[in-house]
Symmetry: C2
Subunit: 144 residues, 2 copies
DNA sequence: CTACGTGCAAAAAGTTTGCAATCGC
DNA sequence: GCGATTGCAAACTTTTTGCACGTAG
């Protein structure tokens, strides 16, 4: 049976409040505001538990360690967008649909994963705005 | 300047011959047939080198360590299919196209990644074929 | 009170790096 | 011969696990 501990509550709250998928480290940092003694192992254990119980969903982008988002905001089929400048991940609630036809003959498609990459609405596009070298740009993972 | 060593040649050949993306371990195993003394560190170093020189491309599926494929077979825009039973990855040379419209307003889409999941043409579909427990099923990564 | 949960530290797993020996050119 | 390359082992990084203590119910 699952108990309600300060740690578990803090971790859960942080993810519910984020509005976008958070990395393990982001969860730890944010939850330590509430529970400063919180350890990394506890975060890993609870993330796994919360995923299994269906309270949160793991978001795995290609070549990146997993992020976690509340299923409250993500119960429906959706995809993700990662800003190549600030590295943050956003939900995309649209879907091209009907992708089964892309598979080779004899292959059955049960599921798909789509990730868009580009520039979010808050970052200066590196393509459009050609700045002099050494110009300030948002740190990876900044914002918030 | 890059030298032509037995190790590098073996690694390169294995990837060119595979016809599908191979994991680091698969590359090591296959290349050790030619060069039994080949070490894992050498594989890592050469994969990085070959990626940088554009000879091979890294394929990163969500939540999985990278695989590598020859750019000879993969110079064009394409996607990937992973069989959920045997875990092997195949190329999908089709693309839904026009995904920019899915992004939120103000977001610019430069690139996208699509992964299909399902059952390949050689694995019995776990959905269709309900077998008795303990029945033989292809090992993950088997075949070849 | 008892079992589940936590924190810490050690252990795994996967990847990178330092270094002396080796080999291509 | 010289410098790039290799193999091994040690160092790192990230995630998991063991264990004694703490705490919810």
């Amino acid at each position: 049976m699952e108990r309600s501990t300060r740690q578990r509550t803090a971790i859960s709250s942080v993810i519910d409040a984020a509005g976008r998928p958070l990395s393990t480290q982001e969860v730890l940092d944010a939850a330590q505001v509430d529970v400063p003694t919180l350890g990394l192992a506890t975060v890993y254990r609870n993330l796994k538990l919360l995923v299994d119980s269906g309270d949160i969903a793991a978001v795995t982008l290609p070549g990146d360690s997993p992020r976690y988002e509340s299923t409250l905001h993500a119960h429906e089929h959706h995809h993700h967008f990662q800003c190549t400048t600030c590295k943050r991940v956003f939900d995309v609630h649209d879907c091209p649909g009907d992708l089964a036809r892309l598979a080779p003959k004899g292959f059955t498609v049960e599921r798909h994963d789509l990730t868009l990459y580009g520039c979010c609405d808050e970052c200066p596009s590196p393509r459009k705005v050609l700045r002099p070298a050494g110009d300030a740009r948002p740190e990876p993972g900044a914002r918030d």
